[in-house]
Each structure stands twice: as structure tokens, then as C-alpha cells.
């Protein structure tokens, strides 16, 4: 078909942050999928809770609180650093962004270690009864996200040191910060359900 040129897009920028970036929208799509999984898993937890007279099932004790509190405090610190890093990514300062990503890898590692202690403080097993199963489900689901984004951050961070940095790497760092925020925010309701629902419901 014949065409008639009415404009030129060559002067448009070749990268964009946040809402204007394709990758950001893709991540948003996957975050919605994963948020649905968290919501449904939380719903399953509450549904099974509603089917049973006691929670946890006797003689199980609720999960010990300490490791969960340490994880949550570390997560809050990580989110503060993470938001700062997202802001710095937009300034495209190579040194600061490298430092920020390295910090995130370090804090993420601390959270992973703390999560290992959490696994040991559940006071139940997944194969004992439905309470144990659904408690471990929530912890497993979140741990999978934690590990995924920590590995992702580590790989992305290593490339910042080994390869030349171009504007699109800053947008990738920015998008990765968005995903970390999702991992952080999704932890709070899981933390409440795993540790406090057995005490309050």
C-alpha cells in the first residue's frame, strides 16, 4: 500500500523509565499474576482456618516470632535503600548505582539468611496437617520470590561491573527496584498471616 510520510520519530529518546518503559509494563503484568497467587494462597489459608475449630492444630505452637521480626526489619531497611536506588538510577550516576545495587545484594543476602532461620521456627511441618501445609505454602511462595529477585539483582549487579553501562541499564535497575518493592510489600500480609493469625484468630 502506498504511504505518505507525516512525521519522524528518530528524534525520540531511545530509553525510558517506569511507566514509559516496556519492561516496566511487563514486570507489572507478572507482578499482578504473582499478587493473585499471593491473594489466592492467603484466601486458601483463611478458608482452611474457617473449616477448623483450632488454629494451629493442637499440640502445634504458633511460629516463633524472632526470626520473622528480624526478616521484616531487614526488609524495611532494604526498601528504604531500594527506593533511594530507584531515585539514583534516574540520575544515571554509574558509581552510585553500582554502590546501591551492591548494597541491595548484601541486604538481600542477609534476608535470605534470616529466612533460613524462619524456616526453622515454624513449629510445624508441611506434612503434619492442613495448618502446617498452608503455613508452609505462604512461606514457600514468598521465599521463591525472595530468591528469584535476589539472584536477579546479583546477576544484574555483576553485569554493571563487567559490561559497559548504557542508559538502558539504568532503566533495568529502576525496574528491578520496582520488583523488589513488590517482594517487600507482599511480605507484610504474609508475615501477618503466618505469625499473627495463629495468635489472633
Amino acid at each position: 500500500m502506498k504511504t505518505r510520510v507525516v512525521g519522524d520519530v528518530s528524534s525520540l529518546p531511545d530509553h525510558a523509565f517506569g511507566l514509559k518503559s516496556l519492561l516496566w509494563w511487563g514486570l507489572l503484568g507478572f507482578m499482578v499474576i504473582e499478587a493473585m497467587a499471593f491473594i489466592l494462597a492467603g484466601g486458601a489459608y483463611l478458608y482452611i482456618r474457617g473449616q477448623n475449630p483450632a488454629w494451629p492444630f493442637p499440640p502445634d505452637a504458633p511460629p516463633a516470632l524472632t526470626a520473622g521480626i528480624v526478616t521484616t526489619v531487614l526488609f524495611v531497611i532494604s526498601e528504604v535503600v531500594n527506593r533511594w536506588l530507584a531515585k539514583m538510577a534516574k540520575t544515571m550516576n554509574e558509581q552510585i548505582v553500582r554502590l546501591g545495587v551492591t548494597l541491595m545484594i548484601g541486604i538481600g543476602f542477609a534476608i535470605v539468611v534470616s529466612r533460613i532461620f524462619e524456616l526453622a521456627s515454624m513449629n510445624t511441618r508441611w506434612d503434619v496437617n492442613a495448618y502446617g501445609s498452608v503455613t508452609w505454602l505462604l512461606l514457600f511462595l514468598h521465599t521463591l520470590h525472595l530468591l528469584t529477585d535476589w539472584v536477579d539483582t546479583a546477576v544484574l549487579g555483576s553485569w554493571l561491573y563487567t559490561h559497559k553501562i548504557e542508559p538502558t541499564q539504568f532503566t533495568e535497575v529502576y525496574d528491578n527496584c520496582g520488583y523488589w518493592s513488590f517482594v517487600f510489600w507482599s511480605w507484610l500480609p504474609m508475615w501477618g498471616l503466618i505469625y499473627f493469625a495463629p495468635r489472633l484468630m
Binding site: 505518505r4 507525516v6 512525521g7 528518530s10 499474576i33 493473585m36 492442613a130 559497559k164
Partner: protein
């Protein structure tokens, strides 16, 4: 609104131009005044630039090219062919069931094998045929309809196909190896749990779900992002083709609904493999939890299958009625309303489980309410045909067949939305008749219409009209002969999922008629396959726009080149090709030396920025292999999940491995 010229003869001769190609200033053009140069007639591209563009977007030859391509059209074509092959297999399973039921106390198929066959039929049709093939047509057409060079995430698209293929092969290889599932396409617990289904049959089903849902979710994200951020300049939300609107709604529905079935099947797998108790009532679990999770997915799934049918018909009807669709805005609102309401209906599949009365009343009301937006759309199509100058070519025949069939299925749906009637008809052949009218009427009729309509664009050849009309009438008659008697069988009390029945129940004649209908359907589909092969080898060559249609995909050659468009189209109406018959306004400036796409704003489609589009890569294929290793391995050992994540992590890292130079070295960045 624009109308095409009077007395068109789509498919045979292109009509004369409706109006000269005046360079009316469009909003998009005005908005882009800063970047716009004066409107000048130019050749498509300078020869050197055209060669560069071809070189940039071309695939490697041979098997390597097949494995590494990220071209949405190639991937969509293989998706369609694969899904259609599994449709044939599932159809043969249906023919086997009909032969078994053609007379009472028949021993053609054993009870256990019959369970496997109806499970394979339902599972394949729902998970391996319907959703993938409908998404595949969108994978092909959405970038072309929105004027984009590629999907938003081309490698993710390639990955989705290989994961889908692995899931489909797992199911059918399992069946051939006699470990195919036998617990129905829904796999209710406790039947599917470790106590009543030992062995690996149900594990195969559960992991197949994970495969196909990973694929479907990947496609949904891809399609949604492409629609929201890659539309041609000027294609505001209110100018999007209805096809694109539908796939935006369907993608969002898919994103919200499919995690539920993945969770349901993963928890089932966990109960079977790890000894958890999600569905074990003896240890505090719940079987109804499985049903809630399954149907929270399962009912939106029906509309995820039906709405793409709406999309096909909404494109076919205006083209062959020779006028724009009547009621564009009510159509869009209806699609959105169906998407929304479909999440409030799932409990009507569970009326027989003894839920609270108030819940029954709510879900009855919601189930009846969804008939309203469906009805609005049907009236819009009828009004379009009524007020147009319809040309009854094969695609329109399928569209009309769809309306008739779907209305019957919709009406029986309203019937079974009523709890007292549902309790009588639950698990009878009435329900089998109802959902085949809805699913075949709502999806397969429009799908054959879509094949007839877009076959020229996909292949560059026209399908035979004569064979197409024969196929339609055989299908329409065969379908009604096969499925209408099932309503009566259900009212007579014949339960579904039975491998045989005693004589003297009065069911024989209706079963025999239904079997005859199945044979006619078989003939119809055989004729379609013959038509495809004959047309591919000796069909008339198709020009760019053989039906004189109005949307952007018809502005490209048939079949389109790998880069889709030489320049980015600019849109100023809902029917751009009817509005601009002489020449299409475009914007130049996308790179020809590297793969690049234009990103536009979500609502108004203002040009915003340019972004790189990835090159072909083997890593989506290898990542799909790694995912397959994890999922198939976990059928046999939970440790496969742990160890399998290691190669998967490597494969995904390689997928995204930067091609830019090493730090401290100079070089041309990719």
C-alpha cells in the same frame, strides 16, 4: 465514520477509491507537529534502507532459525498448527466416545480407557486447543492491527510456545505410554488425590496444567503490553479495533484467573508428592477448596475462550456487511462487563455441593446478568448486518452460524443458572449439550470464520470458497445433529461421563443420532484440511487486502514481511484503510540497522520513545527445556525442583546476557 463504496465484491475485485487521499490534518499529526515534516509522497523506503531493514529482521535459515526465531508471525503459525493437530486428536477421542455410546452395553472401549479418553478430550480441548489457538491468532494479528513491528517481548513469546509444546507432548506421550490422566478435565479431589489415584496419571495432568498456564500467562502479558504501549500514533483507546479491545480484556482476565488453576493443581501435586493436606479432610483440609480454586479459574476460562470468538466476529461482520460496526461503544462496554461479571459466577458450578442459600441466589443472579452484555453484542452484530449490504462469503457464514448456535447455548445457560433446575440437570447430558453449544458455538464457529478470513494474510493464498461453504454447512448441520439430541438425553436423565448404558432407557435413538452428527463433523473437518492443503498448493494468490477490510493488518503484503511495516502507520479513525484509500499516513525514523519498536502512550497513543527489540536467540528454547526438566522431574521426585532450578537460572541469565561491550573496552554497542 467511514463506509466503503457501494456494491463491493470482497475477495474478487478491489472497489474504486471512495475519496481522494486528501491530507486532512489528524489529531495525531497535529500532536506530533514538532517531529512532523511536511507530508510528502515518498517511495516505501530507499533500496539500501529496505535491504538493511530486511537484513536486520531476518531469521537464520533452517532448523536453527526455527528454534531461534522471535518473529511473532512464525511463532503464531506454529502455535496454530500445533493446537489444530491436538484439536484433531481430541476430536478423534470424541468420535471414539460417540462410537462407544452409539448402542447400549457396547464393549468397544473398556470403562478405564473410556475415563482416559474423556479426560484427554476435555483436557486437550480446554488447555491445549482452545486457549492456545485463540491466543495464537492474537499473537499473529495484534501487532499488525496496532501497527507495531513486533510484540513487546518477542523472546517471551518464543519461550511460551516451547513450554506449551512440552506440556501438550507430556499429556499425549503420557496417554500413549498408558500413564495418561483419567480423572476428568477438572480432576476433582478426592478422586484425583493420593488415596484414590495412585500412580502418575494425575501428576501428568497437574504438571500439564502448569506448562500450559505458564505459556498462556506469558502470552497474556505480552499481548496486554503490546496493546497498551505499542499502538500506532493516533490509535487512541476509542479507535482500537474491537479485536484488540477483546484481547486487552481477555489478557487481563487471563492474568487474574489462571493463577487460581496453577495454585489448585500445584497444591494437588503437593498433596500427592510431599504428603501435604490441603485437600485431605481427615487432616483439616478441604475438597471444596479445590473446587473453589478450580472454578475461580474455570468460569472466567469459558469467557476467555468465548470473547476471542467475539473478536473474530466483530471484525468479520463489518467487512462483509460493508459498513462500520453498529454500537462500537456498547460493544466495548459489553466486553468489559463480561470480563468483570465472569469472575462472579464460579459458584454456579458448585450448586450441588450444598452451599448457603444466599450464595446460591447471588450466583444465580450474576449468571443471568451476564446474558445482558452478551445480548447487547448479538443485537449489535445483527444491526450491522441488517443495516449493511451483506456479502455472504464463507467468513460471514461462520459468523451467522456462531450467532445462532451461541444464542441457543446462552439460553440453556440461563436455564441452568436456576438452582432448582440445575440440581435436576447437573451431571446430565443436558449440561454436555449446553457447554458444547457455548464453546463450539462461541469459539470454534468464529475460529473457522477467522481461518477463512485471515488465511490470505497468513499464507498469501485464498481458501476455496466452494469448499469453505460445503465445510460450513456440513459443520453446522453435523454440530446440531450431534449435540441437540443431548439436551433431550439430559432431560431423559442420561448421566454424563458414563462409558455405557443399559438398553430400554429410551436413550438409544438420540445417542445414535448424536453419533451420526459426530461423523458429519468429522467429514466437515476433513474437508477443511483438504481445502487448506489444496489452497496452499494451488489456491488463488491473495493481494494485500482481498476483502477490502478496514484495519491495519490489511495494509501489509500477504503474508507480511518479518518487520511488518516499512514505516509506522498513523491512525485517525477506527477504519484507517477505508479512510485512506490512496495512501496511508506514516511516520518514519525507526532504526533500520537494529531492531527497534515505537512506544506510545497508553491512552492517546502519542509517540513517546523508541526501544530496542531483541534479536533471535536459542535461550528461550533452552529455558523452556529447563522448565520442562523441572516440571517433569517433579512428577517423580521433589528434589528435581531444587536441582532443576540451577540449569534454569543459567538459561535465564544467558537469555538476558548483555551484548554490549565489556567494561573499559570500546566498541559499537548493540
Amino acid at each position: 465514520m467511514s463506509r466503503p463504496p457501494k456494491k463491493p465484491t470482497p475477495g474478487r475485485k478491489k472497489p474504486a477509491a471512495r475519496k481522494p487521499a486528501t491530507a486532512k490534518a489528524t489529531s495525531a499529526e497535529t500532536d506530533e507537529a514538532k517531529t512532523a515534516s511536511a507530508a510528502i509522497a515518498k517511495p516505501v523506503l530507499e533500496p539500501a534502507a529496505l535491504e538493511e531493514l530486511k537484513e536486520t529482521w531476518k531469521d537464520a535459515p533452517g532448523l536453527w532459525g526455527w528454534l531461534t526465531t522471535v518473529d511473532h508471525k512464525r511463532i503464531a503459525r506454529r502455535y496454530i498448527v500445533t493446537a489444530f493437530i491436538f484439536f484433531l486428536l481430541a476430536g478423534l477421542a470424541a468420535v471414539a466416545m460417540r462410537l462407544q455410546l452409539s448402542r447400549p452395553e457396547n464393549d468397544l472401549i473398556s470403562p478405564a480407557r473410556y475415563n482416559e479418553i474423556f479426560t484427554m478430550h476435555g483436557t486437550t480441548m480446554m488447555f491445549i486447543f482452545a486457549v492456545p489457538i485463540l491466543e495464537a491468532v492474537a499473537i499473529y494479528l495484534v501487532p499488525l492491527m496496532v501497527g507495531a513491528r513486533a510484540l513487546a517481548f518477542p523472546r517471551l513469546n518464543a519461550f511460551s510456545y516451547f513450554v506449551y509444546l512440552a506440556g501438550a507432548l507430556l499429556l499425549w506421550v503420557g496417554f500413549i505410554l498408558n500413564i495418561g490422566p483419567d480423572v476428568g478435565w477438572f480432576a476433582y479431589t478426592p478422586l484425583s488425590g493420593p488415596e484414590y489415584s495412585p500412580g502418575h496419571r494425575t501428576d501428568v495432568w497437574a504438571q500439564m496444567i502448569t506448562f500450559t498456564e505458564i505459556a498462556a500467562l506469558s502470552v497474556a502479558v505480552n499481548i496486554a503490553c503490546t496493546i497498551l504501549r505499542m499502538r500506532a500514533p493516533g490509535m487512541t483507546l476509542s479507535r482500537m479495533p474491537l479485536f484488540v479491545w477483546v484481547h486487552l480484556v481477555v489478557s487481563i482476565m487471563t492474568i487474574l484467573a489462571l493463577p487460581a488453576v496453577m495454585l489448585a493443581s500445584s497444591l494437588l501435586m503437593s498433596d500427592r508428592l510431599l504428603g501435604t493436606h490441603f485437600y485431605n479432610a481427615a487432616e483439616g483440609g478441604s475438597h471444596l477448596l479445590y473446587q473453589h480454586l478450580f472454578w475461580f479459574f474455570g468460569h472466567p476460562e469459558v469467557y476467555i475462550i468465548f470473547l476471542p470468538g467475539v473478536a473474530f466476529v466483530s471484525m468479520i461482520v463489518p467487512t462483509f456487511a460493508r459498513r462500520p460496526i453498529v454500537g462500537y461503544i456498547p460493544m466495548v462496554l459489553s466486553q468489559a462487563a463480561i470480563g468483570f461479571l465472569s469472575f462472579g459466577l464460579w459458584v454456579h458450578h458448585m450448586f450441588a455441593t450444598g452451599l448457603p442459600r444466599l450464595g446460591d441466589s447471588f450466583y444465580t443472579a450474576a449468571s443471568m446478568a451476564i446474558a445482558l452484555p452478551s445480548g447487547v453484542q448479538i443485537f449489535c452484530w445483527i444491526a450491522t448486518i441488517w443495516s449493511g449490504r451483506p456479502v455472504f462469503r464463507t467468513p460471514l457464514l461462520w459468523a451467522v452460524g456462531f450467532v445462532i448456535t451461541f444464542v441457543i447455548g446462552g439460553l440453556t445457560g440461563v436455564m441452568v443458572a436456576s438452582v432448582p433446575l440445575d440440581l435436576q440437570l447437573h451431571d446430565t447430558y443436558f449440561v454436555v449439550a449446553h457447554f458444547h453449544y457455548v464453546l463450539i458455538g462461541g469459539a470454534v464457529f468464529p475460529l473457522f470464520g477467522a481461518f477463512a478470513y485471515w488465511f490470505p494474510k497468513f499464507t498469501g493464498r485464498m481458501l476455496s470458497e466452494r469448499l469453505g461453504a460445503w465445510q460450513f454447512w456440513l459443520f453446522f448441520i453435523g454440530f446440531n445433529v450431534a449435540f441437540f439430541p443431548m439436551h433431550i438425553l439430559g432431560l431423559l436423565g442420561m448421566p454424563r461421563r458414563v462409558y455405557t448404558y443399559p438398553s430400554g432407557m429410551g436413550w438409544e435413538p438420540y445417542n445414535q443420532i448424536a453419533t451420526l452428527g459426530g461423523v458429519i463433523l468429522f467429514l466437515s473437518i476433513s474437508l477443511f484440511i483438504f481445502n487448506v492443503f489444496k489452497s496452499l498448493s494451488s489456491g488463488a494468490k491473495a493481494d494485500d487486502n482481498p476483502w477490502d477490510a478496514s484495519t491495519l493488518e490489511w495494509s501489509t503484503p500477504s503474508p507480511p514481511p518479518p518487520y511488518n511495516f516499512h514505516h509506522t502507520p498513523v491512525v485517525d479513525s477506527r477504519e484507517p484503510l477505508w479512510e485512506h484509500r490512496e495512501d496511508l499516513p506514516v511516520m518514519e525514523g525507526l532504526a533500520t540497522k537494529k531492531r527497534e519498536v515505537l512506544v506510545t502512550s497508553a491512552s492517546e497513543a502519542h509517540p513517546d520513545n523508541r526501544q530496542s527489540s531483541p534479536d533471535p536467540s536459542i535461550w528461550p528454547f533452552i529455558s523452556a527445556l529447563a522448565v520442562s526438566g523441572v516440571l517433569i522431574g517433579t512428577i517423580f521426585s521433589e528434589w528435581a525442583f531444587v536441582w532443576g532450578l540451577i540449569p534454569l537460572t543459567f538459561a535465564l541469565s544467558a537469555w538476558f546476557w548483555p551484548k554490549r561491550p565489556r567494561a573499559g573496552k570500546s566498541g559499537e554497542p548493540h
